[in-house]
């Protein structure tokens, strides 16, 4: 009898276990295989400036506010916010019942601890200054956070909504948790495995505050450095999305019936930067000549995967963009004439520094060189690695010309701040500098747009750069996948809406 009971008991347990297994098995959707071309150094959103980190963290963390599909900043962890009349007090009302991946419930204390951590000298965050304007953070109740600013500061909301505004749990901050390798947020996915230089595995957060999302149970970010392997993976179905397809690989994808090619405009500002402080480029005529000498659309089409030409220092799709492309159209004859007037010939050696880790910039540099040679300039190319580029070219302005793309920002202040007052192009213009500072403390889109229009006009005329354009990004996506989004201006991946369509 006892034996029988025991056997029955075992049977019941077995049935229960298999039942659970089957139930779980039936619900689980297949994982989405995504490809990343590099490994994020850290997943601590406060410890780095690396785009890869924020691209992965977008799925793990949330911010108080976030840009929607059109780039408009909308509520996220905060349901709403209001700004006092003097623009100094920003009150955020938090969503109720939001859970961190470790089980903690989100409260105002987490928000306070998060911003205290990023502004702490010891954290050494490269984005500290975005929040330095905060003079105090008050938490009158669990769901209300009041930021008091030391001055009115319009870009504040943009910083809150950027990747570095990610909210961390206070309990783990206090415990000195290793956020570098074990991120814990409130995001749609939790990180369950990270093999550096191989893959990041994200599992659905079943308690996510957005009901019914995310759609997928699992996203695997495969770190694949070789572009041709990514393309083959997509064609053979081992990958579902390749978010950046090079120009040369497009024909291969176009041949496949299983893949759709999606093109969208990036928020990059592609430029050839000019060092304005030293001859011959301290002469406006020479900088104008450079702009006349370049066939911009041709460079965009040949070096980058096409794009929209711009005439000033703002990305084409930005709400603050203003068109100045008529100012310096492609006109090599005009360029020659201006160079002649300025007395610059090919006896002056011009050094163009190219970041070798960005092949499209290198390619663009070679085309620039060719076009500049045609108008009689003597341009020598010098390849540098990324740390040298940042250290010598960008920080110390040791260059004549260089080619780079500036990433988009949620607020135009992020793009323009510091220009007119040196920066790496060593361009000084008191009027522009003063206007940029004024726009930062001015509230309201219309008011700010009027000021930025003027700034962009000065920059368009003074040409501290050859403004090239905003390039297209080409994505290759398997046809059975829909709803993959990239966050406007931030270029991060948003898998919340992504799902497989049943075949």
């Amino acid at each position: 009898m006892k034996k029988l009971l025991k056997a029955g008991f075992v049977l019941i347990i077995l049935l229960a276990v298999t039942g659970v297994l089957f139930a779980a098995g039936a619900k689980e959707t297949k994982p989405l295989n995504f490809s990343l071309s590099g490994n994020p150094d850290t997943l601590d959103p406060q410890a780095t400036s690396g785009t890869l980190t924020f691209q992965v963290d977008k799925s793990i963390y949330d911010t108080l506010a976030e840009p929607n599909e059109k780039g408009v900043i909308v509520p996220a962890l905060a349901e709403s916010w209001d700004v006092s009349d003097d623009s100094l007090q920003w009150t955020f009302h938090l969503r109720k019942g939001v859970k961190f991946h470790n089980g903690d419930t989100l409260t105002s204390a987490d928000v306070k601890a998060t911003f205290e951590r990023i502004t702490d000298e010891k954290t050494a965050s490269p984005n500290k200054k975005a929040f330095d304007v905060i003079s105090s953070i008050d938490t009158p109740d669990d769901l209300t956070v009041i930021f008091t600013l030391s001055k009115p500061f319009a870009p504040f909301l943009g910083s809150i909504a950027s990747g570095w505004g990610a909210i961390l749990p206070k309990s783990l901050i206090d415990a000195g948790h290793d956020f570098d390798s074990q991120p814990v947020g409130t995001g749609p996915y939790k990180m369950t495995e990270w093999i550096r230089d191989s893959k990041v595995v994200l599992d659905k957060n079943p308690d996510y505050w957005m009901k019914g999302y995310p759609k997928l149970d699992k996203v695997i970010m495969n770190i694949i450095p070789e572009a041709s392997v990514q393309i083959q993976g997509l064609i053979s179905g081992q990958l579902d999305i390749v978010y950046m397809v090079g120009k040369d690989d497009l024909p291969l994808l176009e041949k496949s019936d299983d893949i759709k090619i999606v093109k969208n405009l990036t928020s990059l500002i592609m430029v050839m930067a000019i060092n304005c402080s030293q001859p011959p480029f301290d002469d406006l005529r020479v900088r104008q000549a450079l702009n006349y000498a370049i066939d911009k659309q041709k460079v965009l089409d040949t070096a980058y995967s096409g794009g929209k030409v711009i005439g000033t220092f703002m990305d084409y799709g930005n709400a603050y963009y203003k068109d100045f492309t008529d100012l310096y159209p492609y006109n090599p004859e005009k360029a020659k004439q201006l160079l002649k007037e300025a007395g610059v010939g090919n006896d002056v050696e011009i050094k163009m520094y190219l970041p070798q880790n960005y092949p499209p910039h290198v390619k663009a540099g070679e085309i620039y060189q060719e076009m500049l040679t045609k108008v009689g300039l003597n341009v020598k190319i010098q390849m540098v690695d990324w740390s040298t580029w940042i250290g010598d070219v960008y920080r110390k302005s040791k260059f004549d010309l260089t080619v780079i793309g500036h990433t988009g920002k949620l607020d135009p202040n992020g793009t323009l701040s510091g220009y007119g007052n040196g920066k790496y192009v060593q361009w000084y213009n008191d009027e522009a500098a003063a206007l940029i500072e004024k726009a930062a403390v001015t509230m309201g889109y219309e008011n700010r747009k009027a000021i930025y229009d003027k700034v962009l006009e000065i920059m368009a005329k003074e040409v501290p750069f050859v403004y090239l354009g905003s390039s297209y990004r080409t994505q290759g996506i398997r046809k059975n996948v829909k709803g993959f989004r990239m966050t406007p201006n931030l270029d991060t991946f948003d898998f919340r809406w992504t799902e497989f369509i049943d075949e």
Binding site: D41, A124, I195, D197, P225, W386, S387
Partner: protein, 308 residues
């Protein structure tokens, strides 16, 4: 001389090597342009933020202080903390080593299996079909870039006939194609050397004596000549193995493998000083160890070569 003294001497030599190498690498990476704090900071950070990052990373201290710290930590067998990832250098190396080691072992086994029999056959039957086959192989092996071979193997066996995975690092299956790509080129080098060394050995006087004594060709070729011919082969194979333990950058890149090669490569790109230093010291130790093992192999092959 006894073995203990030999090991002790070798160990002291290793320590001296590490001291010299760690000092050279420490200064070399600080002389070349580039600052890790700037890599972490990116292009939007302010000077004040960069200063804070330098303080956190410890790169704001004078070079002499940094050198003293590095030496102090090294004595304690502590390789420090990676600047960009915040992880301990030892842990990062430990994570990567098993994969690199397995790949190197597979690669070298494959290389030896192809090279030594083919090399010996080529030498014994000079100008025969075997010899031509060997020559063609060694030419191809040295001329074909492993990058290209890797891509072709992937296209064939991961895309056209999907037997092996295209990327990933979870199972031994992921290592088969990279080991072939790696072993293919190594085999070419070992093959040439085996043939040359064997040909050389077969023309020596003691072989003529052996023949005169009426030993069978088999005995002469495989017992007498081969054993001696293998000595330089073992040396080169050992060195090749040592190289592979430092990571095979190109193979890791093509096959998306998280091995030591990519770890150290990115460390250099990012000027991750402790990781570069730790990597170089690690490779130096590995090299010394393989050399040591090779020396022991010598004495097994030829007892006349005393450990000395």
């Amino acid at each position: 001389m006894n073995l203990l003294l030999f090991v002790l001497k070798r160990f002291l030599r290793l320590l001296l090597t590490i001291l010299i190498i760690s000092t050279i690498i420490f200064f070399v990476i600080r002389v070349i342009p580039g600052d890790p704090a700037l890599v972490v900071a990116g292009i939007d950070a302010s000077d004040e933020e960069i200063q804070a990052i330098r303080a956190k990373l410890g790169t704001d201290a004078p070079v002499t202080v940094q050198y003293a710290r590095w030496m102090r930590d090294l004595v304690r067998l502590d390789l420090g903390t990676s600047l960009t990832s915040g992880q301990s250098v030892k842990a990062l190396i430990r994570q990567r080593f098993p994969l690199t080691f397995t790949l190197a072992v597979l690669g070298i086994i494959l290389g030896v299996i192809i090279a030594i029999p083919l090399g010996v056959l080529s030498a014994v039957h000079r100008w025969s079909l075997w010899d031509y086959l060997g020559m063609v192989y060694s030419q191809a092996g040295m001329a074909i870039p492993s990058f290209w071979l890797g891509i072709i193997l992937l296209l064939l066996f991961s895309v056209k006939f999907p037997i092996f995975p295209l990327f990933g690092s979870d199972s031994l299956k992921n290592l088969v194609l990279p080991a072939i790509a790696l072993g293919f080129a190594r085999a070419a080098v070992i093959l040439r050397l085996t043939r040359a060394s064997m040909v050389d050995e077969l023309s020596k006087e003691y072989i003529i004596t052996a023949r005169a004594k009426g030993l069978t060709e088999k005995m002469i070729n495989y017992k007498h000549a081969l054993k001696n011919a293998l000595i330089p082969v073992v040396t080169v194979t050992g060195i090749q193995f040592g190289y592979m333990l430092g990571g095979a950058i190109i193979i890791e890149q093509v096959f998306s493998l998280p091995g030591l090669g990519r770890l150290f490569l990115y460390a250099i790109y990012q000027r991750d000083f402790p990781l570069i230093q730790g990597g170089v010291v690690f490779i130096a130790v590995i090299f010394s160890l393989t050399n040591f093992i090779v020396d022991i192999f010598y004495s097994v092959l030829n007892p006349k070569i005393r450990i000395s």
